[in-house]
């Protein structure tokens, strides 16, 4: 598999890995016990999806799943700017998740027709699991937006903070031209972004809200997935703290 395909797989894997990690922090401390269990499942699903993508990477590079996932310096991770943010408060988590899940759904639907058959098959499976995520995310965004007072205020704050980075999920990768030419990415990123905006804008409009315009850094292929901030640096240190004791050992 050529470099372009690997770059795409890393983007998919790292997005789910980092989001799953960040959101798993809610385990035990969510606003409500039932919601705690739900949130934990969502985070576990992301990690499961990440494992599947890393599995493909492992097969194609001859590497091992955990080495590929963990044993990299922080700046070698290729997750999007949207996912680089810390989980924040409940409103930020729900907002960011919804923005991510809606974009991910658009991406996965397109990848179902990828010339990379194993990736296409995986995309179909993941997309089916994501339906559950979309239901939850939309339910929460609607409830937050529809409740005047603190919930709506916090939703607006969250949109202002992470909204400009939301486009980074679907922004073109450096190898976009090759990915599209080879059919690995059957739909160009610009069109994916339009489809996504077309889905989220009406829902926000229904709440009298607008999606903030994308920041330049979020759309630029050279910055959409690099330049990670302190939130991710801290996360990286945590998930390497035990493994880093002995990367050669079996844990």
């Amino acid at each position: 598999m050529n470099g372009a395909g690997l770059e795409l797989l890393y983007a998919l894997a790292d997005d789910d890995f980092v989001l799953g990690f960040a959101d798993s922090e809610w385990t035990g401390i969510a606003p409500h016990l039932e919601e705690d269990v739900a949130m934990s499942s969502l985070a576990q699903d992301e990690l499961g999806h990440a494992s599947a993508y890393y599995g493909l990477l492992a097969e194609r590079t001859g590497g091992e799943l955990n080495r590929i996932a963990y044993d990299r310096p922080a700046d070698a991770f290729r997750h999007s700017r949207l996912v680089d943010h810390g989980r924040g408060d409940w409103a930020r988590t729900m907002t960011r998740r919804w923005l991510y899940d809606t974009a991910n759904a658009v991406r996965l639907e397109a990848l179902a027709d990828s010339s990379d058959r194993p990736l296409a098959d995986l995309a179909v499976k993941v997309r089916r699991e994501e339906t559950y995520h979309l239901l939850h995310g939309q339910a929460w965004v609607e409830r937050l937006g529809g409740y005047n007072g603190e919930p709506r205020r916090r939703l607006i704050e969250a949109l202002e903070l992470v909204g400009p980075d939301a486009s980074s999920v679907l922004a073109a990768l450096p190898s976009e031209a090759v990915l599209v030419a080879d059919g690995i990415l059957p739909v160009p990123s610009a069109e994916l972004l339009e489809r996504w905006t077309g889905r989220v804008a009406p829902i926000l409009a229904g709440l009298d809200l607008v999606l903030p315009p994308p920041g330049a850094a979020a759309l630029d292929p050279l910055t959409a997935r690099s330049g990670h901030g302190p939130a991710f640096q801290a996360l990286w240190a945590e998930f390497n703290s035990v493994r880093g004791l002995d990367r050669a050992a079996t844990w």
Binding site: Y70, W90, F239, V242
Partner: protein
């Protein structure tokens, strides 16, 4: 007050239930009929008439159990972010998720007996109600996670299996579901311990050290020996076994399994008496147990403080969308 991991003989008089175990008081026919029903193995549902004493006993028992599941999450939570492989991270997250789920099931049972979740959490944070001793201790290494998931869960399961036939039917049903779900955790925990015990010298040392530290609280976990005749929870068939029975059961299964890994246990007196089949051990420090469960454990204040902080950070959600009179 007794609790699932019996403490009654240790607590001073003032801390026991305000309702005395009223064997000597005159009772009406209804109380007698209820008592006969329960002693004969009959079950009680949430909507049934029950003597206040029974209601109070069940509520305290279930509340303590629920609190323990909720607080039990905290020692392990930190390590979700530090789990060294994807599989371990998923397993640990799923395990903790189950604990939160169990807390939900148990708080629901308690809520249906008339106490709100908010009141229970407030009492927990204020130290008015208690949770198991083991959750008052810090976790220091990855090996602690293995030891807790394996042995602390094992000790809890031994108690929980004996509760599946509780007279209070909603609790009994919940215990069946919990026991079914718990069987996987033990395997995850044991796998972590087995892997470390078979690993590098540093990993082996890590797990032995963790075991040495956790053994005393584990031995205290089921509580001091209690008098069968004075144990109200036994009388009402809320629970079925004494502390000592549970502890013996735990030792019988798990000491051999620990030793077969080449790990040692820090109690020189620990051995099986072949004639009686009973385990001998150094008497646990019951004063330490009492001190710990009344909030003086090494991590008690930090954990309660953390819970309070997190509750406050999300109170805006419960005041609105997840509130008592939410508009959809």
């Amino acid at each position: 007050m007794t609790d699932p991991l019996a403490l009654d003989p240790v607590l001073p008089e003032g801390e026991r239930s305000r309702l005395p175990f009223n064997r000597d008081r005159p009772h009406d026919e209804r109380y007698r009929a209820f008592e006969e029903h329960v002693l004969a193995g009959g079950k009680v549902e949430a909507g049934d008439w029950m003597p206040e004493e029974y209601r109070t006993s069940v509520l305290r028992f279930v509340e303590m159990h629920a609190n323990s599941e909720l607080m039990g999450v905290l020692p392990e939570r930190d390590w979700i972010m530090r789990a060294p492989t994807l599989r371990r991270k998923l397993a640990l997250t799923a395990k903790i998720q189950d604990e939160v789920g169990h807390a939900q099931l148990l708080y629901r049972v308690a809520e249906d007996l008339g106490k709100t979740r908010e009141a229970m959490i407030e009492d927990l944070l204020a130290g008015r109600t208690k949770f198991h001793n083991v959750f008052h201790y810090p976790t220091r290494t990855w090996a602690d996670i293995g030891v807790i998931a394996w042995l602390v869960d094992a000790a809890a399961i031994v108690a929980q299996q004996a509760l599946r036939d509780s007279s209070y039917a909603p609790y009994a049903r919940t215990m069946k579901k919990i026991c079914w779900e718990e069987s996987v955790h033990i395997m995850h925990g044991r796998d972590v311990v087995v892997t470390l015990a078979a690993g590098t010298p540093e990993q082996r040392a890590m797990v032995q050290e963790a075991l040495d530290r956790w053994w005393p609280p584990l031995m205290q976990m089921h509580g001091p020996r209690s008098d069968r005749d004075k144990d109200r929870d036994l009388h009402w068939r809320i629970k079925a076994k004494t502390s000592e029975e549970l502890r013996q059961e735990f030792l019988g299964i798990y000491v051999p399994r620990i030793r077969e890994l080449g790990l040692s246990l820090p109690d020189p007196e620990l051995r099986l008496k072949p004639e009686s089949g009973a385990w001998l051990y150094t008497e646990p420090d019951w004063a330490e147990l009492r001190s710990v469960v009344t909030g003086h454990g090494p991590a008690s204040a930090a954990r309660i403080g953390f819970r309070r902080e997190q509750r406050d950070a999300t109170s805006w959600v419960r005041a609105t969308i997840l509130g008592p009179a939410a508009a959809a």
